[in-house]
């Protein structure tokens, strides 16, 4: 199924990436070419094949239920565009 302009706008919204009207057709054409390649997979018989999520067949390790981290808030917030009183500042979401 070809990628439509409506698809481009739908996924751009889901991905929170603004795409202006002037770029949309070029984005659509390139995505369409990529999906043309990806769609080769549809013809492969995978009935009964277990999906492979991970290279190594190991259980993810569990750690002890103990506090191991110290407070790095001010260090980590140094990289933020806007902070105040230890909080990240964003535009108002509630009136």
């Amino acid at each position: 199924m070809p990628i439509s302009l409506a698809d481009v706008h739908r996924i751009a919204h889901l991905a929170r990436i603004e795409i202006d009207a002037g770029q949309a057709e070029e984005v659509r054409a390139k995505l369409d070419a990529i999906f043309g390649m990806i769609n080769e997979l549809a013809a492969v018989d995978t009935q009964g094949v277990t999906p492979m999520a991970h290279a190594q067949d190991v259980m993810l390790p569990l750690r002890d239920d103990k506090v191991t981290e110290s407070d790095h808030r001010s260090l980590y917030q140094r990289a933020a565009p806007a902070v105040e009183g230890g909080l990240y500042l964003v535009p108002k979401v509630l009136e």
Binding site: R16, I17, Q56, P81
Partner: protein, 493 residues
């Protein structure tokens, strides 16, 4: 001898024929002269490098150094460093400095290496040519009109141009091996889980793996020794006994050091689409390996051709999730003008990411979106299993698998930037190792009609890095492709 391999530089330090400060200063001078041509580095910190070098010289004088003490290295700019910014080649992180070092950065620092700088790359490691960086394209030291490969093209170009003797890269679909091949050096992607991903800015978490670049297999082994090891900060880091990856290299192999090694030749890697010069170079390398005692057998990887479509579902899906963290709130670029919170996200991401990164996020968002998950993501994970089964079957009849790293040598800058699918097909021989999680290495084995390097890919089963490096090392003892250097590095003898 400033262009010598790591092992020789280390020996010169210990014999007091060269100091790390002297070497580092001369390499910094070369970087200042050549980086405007190659654009291999995004950040260089001469003061810090010389301070590291001075400390290394003191350690060596006290008899305390190891094989990497005083060796200048460069890290791909996707590996977090507290001392220098980590940009991922993106406008999004152009001014970002990490609060901590990546595990592999720590490991190489602990081993006494000198951090010279951070290298240029395709934005967020998404590319095969190092052209998508916010900081401009990297150029191939063998011919600056050509790409060095990607995404770790800055590190590959820096090592090839003898600006540093070793460096790091990351490999999600071939991003260490393909630039190693196109730049004429060695590069290894280890088994998934050998090098902790802590501090490696995530692109596709189930595929990403850091690894070393160097001139020789022996140097790659030395660097891997310092990069590998269990790290509880990465839940996918494997807890295995420490390995010395140089152990097999030190044995005397005699005249036929590869006797007993069976090399599998996948029919699918020697078919149509391979440049004739590449095919010729690979055939000559195979003849050399047979002379060294190896036996070759034909094998088949029937699902390998599906690696690229599988990869371009799984990697973008994981990327769309990983890169959702870049929202202009906690770090990275924030748009100057916006209406509300949602608009701030959309504009910050539209401005902060380049075209290829956006394209992959959109592909990933699509394949994970409601109603499409089974047809794309689940399907790809199933085919991934079939590909892994192909390799499992192949290793019943051979020890390693050999073929070309890439179907062609380097291509001119700009040649494939308008056609993402053509660009993706560069990864045809490299992506399977990432999907399977197995180790793979590229070493130089010749040149094409334009004088551009060709890479030989050595793939192995899980945890067989030492064996693969041994095969590469024996090949390099019998040949001199790894000693060839580009004209602009002729002054480094």
């Amino acid at each position: 001898m400033i262009g010598a391999p790591i092992a020789e530089l280390g020996a010169a330090f210990r014999a007091k024929r060269l100091s790390s400060v002297e070497l580092t200063q001369r390499l910094l001078d070369r970087i200042a002269r050549l980086n405007p041509v190659l654009n291999a580095f995004i950040s260089v910190d001469p003061d810090r490098a010389l301070a590291d070098a001075k400390a290394a010289d003191a350690a060596i004088a006290a008899g305390a150094g190891g094989p990497l003490t005083g060796i200048p290295v460069a890290h791909k700019d996707i590996l977090a460093t507290a001392a220098m910014r980590t940009t991922c080649g993106s406008r999004m992180l152009a001014n970002y400095t990490s609060p901590y070092d990546a595990h592999v950065v720590e490991g190489l620092a602990r081993a006494g290496t000198v951090l010279v700088g951070k290298t240029n790359m395709d934005e967020f490691a998404m590319g095969s040519s190092s052209e998508t960086s916010h900081f401009g394209p990297v150029r191939n030291p063998w011919n600056p009109q050509y790409v060095p490969g990607g995404s770790s093209g800055g590190s590959a170009a820096a090592v090839a141009a003898r600006l540093v003797p070793g460096g790091t890269g990351t490999d999600t679909g071939g991003s260490i091996r393909q630039p190693a091949a196109l730049s004429g050096i060695c590069g290894l992607k280890p088994t998934y889980g050998i090098c902790s991903r802590y501090g490696l800015v995530a692109f596709a978490s189930s595929l990403d793996q850091a690894g070393p670049f160097a001139q020789t297999a022996q140097d790659v082994a030395l660097l891997l020794n310092a990069m590998a090891g269990h790290d509880p900060r990465d839940s996918t880091s494997l807890d295995r006994p420490a390995e010395d990856y140089t152990r097999m290299l030190r044995q005397d192999g005699g005249a036929r050091p590869l006797a007993g090694v069976t090399v599998g030749l996948p029919r699918e890697y020697f078919g149509a689409g391979i440049d004739p010069d590449v095919a010729k170079a690979i055939d000559a390398a195979l003849a050399e390996l047979r002379t060294l005692g190896a036996r070759t057998v034909d094998i088949t990887l029937p699902n390998a051709k599906l690696s690229v479509p599988v990869y371009y579902v799984i990697a973008p899906a994981e990327a769309s999730s990983n890169l959702s963290r870049f929202d202009g709130v906690r770090y990275g670029h924030r748009a100057a003008k916006y209406d509300d919170l949602a608009d701030m996200y959309s504009k910050s991401r539209a401005e902060g990411f380049g075209a290829e990164v956006k394209r992959r996020i959109l592909v990933g968002t699509y394949v994970l979106s409601h109603g499409y998950y089974d047809a794309y993501y689940l399907k790809a994970q199933q085919v991934r299993h079939l590909i892994a089964d192909d390799f499992r079957r192949a290793y019943r009849t051979c020890d390693i698998i050999i073929g070309p790293t890439a179907p062609t040598a380097a291509f001119p800058i700009g040649a494939k930037t308008d056609d993402p699918v053509q660009m993706y097909l560069n990864d045809i021989f490299t992506v399977a190792a990432n999907l399977v999680g197995a180790p793979a290495l590229s070493i130089p084995c010749g040149f094409d009609r334009n004088g551009l390097p060709i890479g030989l890919q050595i793939q192995g089963d899980y945890f067989t890095e030492a064996k693969m490096l041994d095969v590469a090392h024996r090949f390099q003892q019998a040949t001199d492709w790894h000693r060839k250097r580009p004209a602009l590095a002729a002054d480094t003898d």
